[in-house]
Amino acid sequence: MVEQVLANIEDRMNQIAKSQNQVATGRRISEPSDDPAAAGELLRLQSEINRLEQYKRNIESGLSHLGATENALEAIRDVTIRARSLAVEGSNDVIDADGRRAIAEQVDQLLRELVSTANRKFGNRYIFGGTEIRQTPYQSIEGENGWLEQVVPQFQESQSRIELLFGEGERVETSLTAQDTFNFGDGENLFGILFDLRQALTDNDGQAVGDILPRLDDALEALNGVTAMVGARINTANYMLDQSEDRNIALTDRIGDLGDVDIVEAITRLNEDMVSYELALRMAAEAIQPSLVNFVNL
């Protein structure tokens, strides 16, 4: 009987230790043996949340790249629009050779701006460099008269775009190449158009200047197309960001369900366990004491 009583007391003590641990850590599962299947799932869920956070970081990195690209495109568009209004001005019959020369000077400035924008950096990469991050996309060669003589592309025949992982199996392109941006239509090139414009102005050829206008219009249209594409990618990325927020919340809830202990429930249980324990002790004292030894008068 004594053995039985001792065993009971030890059981209650173990139960108290367990409940206490749950209250102190807030966790239902401290060791896999507490609930093996749930423990395994918890690990997988934690991995998944971790992965989600990483995708979030990836998307944010992509977004900032796309954002920088968007800004650069804006600048290029601005240059193109100003070139167009200069072309309009220069095609006017009223203007004379000197006037045209002055406009040509401004076009040269635009060219320099364009090269500068084309060579813009983002972190340690060139925005329009594709995977060739060591190579400046365009090299500008100065002429003897203080004007740009040539703009030479430095990149390979076909550039590769950069992809990032936005989700499982979701590779998304986050860069534009120089070819995507400055070349369009049938072998047309934005630099080429501006050089032609400058030449026509220098030649004081109003007709030729007028012929540039439709080409600039085409350039603008192409630019709009590319800008829209980048804009769409940015929207998609933001959408994926929101989605992953939702998924994160759902996962966190699930982890809570599996792994956390309901504090109120745990504390209640702990109290019950302590009462049980005291009861066991008291019963033990009462059960063990009486014995015939006390009653025999020898």
Partner: protein
């Protein structure tokens, strides 16, 4: 016909018998806590009577002997329960220690390290031209390697401990069997009737049963023979010592030289559990973790060698290709020296991140368990499997302890000393003694009467 004299000697015999009985009760009370003690009863028989034509006349009581109360069937049950309890308790303890080594649900676990490792590849993909992301990647790889190596070290320690424990327990068995052999000699001399010797024999058999799944047989003269895995450990006063030597894996095994040397396969008791855990659960855990490490190495290397590092070098391994498991899992020595050799690019350009993307995507590729599990899933499976083993061990240990409690209670009820019972008996015996003393008094005064007749 009984005379005064014969009545006197009858009363004297009664006094002696009841004194003896009281002495035995006192003996029982004194030994109420002694382990292995079986309560003694006295064998009181009517003394051989006188048969005359006028009828049979009794001659009082004789105390013929004192013996311990034991039921051998109950004893066997208890020992069998002890073996089970010893086995499952030890198994539970050992498995719980290994569970701690795996220590997953904290940040320092393997699962977390794997997650961080994949993260680092993503970060490299986001910024393939930088040394910063390569340094960070190398650090997280080092961390992963450390965790694997560490698990190996601690598992090895556990195995060493188990091997030491096996040797210690074997020594314990030997000291018990030696004592049993010499006890057998004394038991044979007393024909198994001496209660103290029988008590000692019982205690020693209990201890043996707790350690291993022994078989034993008690002969009519009290001598016990003990066997383990068919080998004789104790036969009369001869004992065979259990030796230990190393097996092919460098682990301890038990041997006995019975003419020919053979190994002993222990399946029960504490020693049985030690072998079970060492050669069963721990061995399997090792093999599954080793597979994880080698697969990780192979999968990553097979992609990495095709890529280009920061300075254009190619054909470099990421992990040491000579890895055989968690013990020697390591980074390739060239990556250890120079993080710039970490490849992110597939086309040779520093800004290309295709390789880094491919490795990051490995996380979701089912490369283990015949193409059904990713690395993360395989690990979580190992974790669940092991957790279930520990949980199972907990349940078995609890059940075995319960069974042992019941069996022990049963034995107690047969052989244990109940103070209440002894008290009641003492009262009876004292009354009987007093009554017999009164009879002596009466006979004495009758004698006086008689003598008074003759003057």
């Amino acid at each position: 016909m009984p005379t005064i004299n014969s009545t006197l000697s009858l009363a004297k015999r009664a006094l002696l018998a009841h004194q003896g009985a009281m002495g035995t009760s006192a003996d029982n009370v004194a030994n109420v806590d002694t382990p292995g003690y079986a309560r003694k009863t006295v064998d009181l028989r009517p003394a051989p009577g006188l048969h005359t034509t006028l009828g049979g006349y009794g001659n009082g009581v004789d105390l013929l002997g004192v013996s311990g109360v034991r039921d051998q069937f109950v004893e066997r049950q208890v020992r069998s329960a002890m073996g089970e309890a010893g086995r499952y308790q030890t198994g539970q303890q050992q498995l719980q220690m290994v569970e701690e080594i795996l220590g997953e649900l904290t940040e320092s676990g393997l699962s977390n390290a794997l997650d961080q490792f994949w993260n680092a590849w993503h970060d490299l993909a986001n910024d393939p031209g930088s040394m910063t992301s390569r340094n960070a990647l190398r650090e997280s790889a080092r961390h992963l390697v450390n965790i694997f190596n560490n698990i190996d070290i601690r598992l090895n320690q556990q195995i060493d401990n188990i091997n030491s424990e096996i040797i210690v327990k074997a020594t314990e068995i030997n000291s018990i069997t030696r004592e049993l052999a010499s006890l057998n000699r004394d038991l044979a001399l007393t024909n198994g009737d001496a209660p103290e010797l029988v008590d000692r024999r019982s205690l020693l058999l209990d201890e043996l049963a707790d350690l291993a799944d022994i078989d034993y047989r008690i002969e009519d003269n009290g001598v016990v023979s003990v066997f383990l895995d068919g080998a004789s450990l104790v036969m009369n006063d001869k004992v065979q010592i259990i030796g230990t030597e190393l097996n092919d894996n460098g682990n301890a095994q038990l041997v006995i030289t019975d003419g020919v040397k053979r190994t002993i396969d222990v399946r029960g008791g504490r020693i049985g559990a030690l072998f079970d855990v060492r050669d069963g659960e721990i061995a399997e855990l090792y093999s599954r973790l080793d597979e994880l490490a080698t697969t990780l190495t192979q999968e990553i290397n097979s992609i990495h060698v095709n890529g280009y590092g920061l300075n254009g070098f190619t054909d470099i391994n990421f992990f040491d290709p000579e890895t055989t498991g968690i013990a020697d899992f390591a980074l390739d020595y060239r990556i250890e020296e120079d993080a710039a050799l970490i490849a992110a690019s597939m086309d040779g350009n520093a800004g290309d991140n295709q390789l880094a993307l491919s490795i990051a995507e490995l996380e979701h590729k089912a490369v283990l368990s015949e193409g059904t599990e990713t690395i993360g899933q395989a690990f979580s499976s190992i974790y669940t499997w092991f957790g279930a083993k520990v949980s199972e061990a907990d349940i078995m240990a609890e059940g075995a302890e319960l069974a042992l409690d019941q069996a022990t209670a049963w034995r107690e009820s047969v052989s244990g000393v109940s103070l209440d019972e002894e008290m009641a008996q003492l009262i009876q015996q004292q009354l009987a003694f007093n009554a017999s003393a009164k009879i002596v008094n009466m006979v004495d005064s009758m004698m006086e009467q008689l003598l008074g007749l003759v003057r």
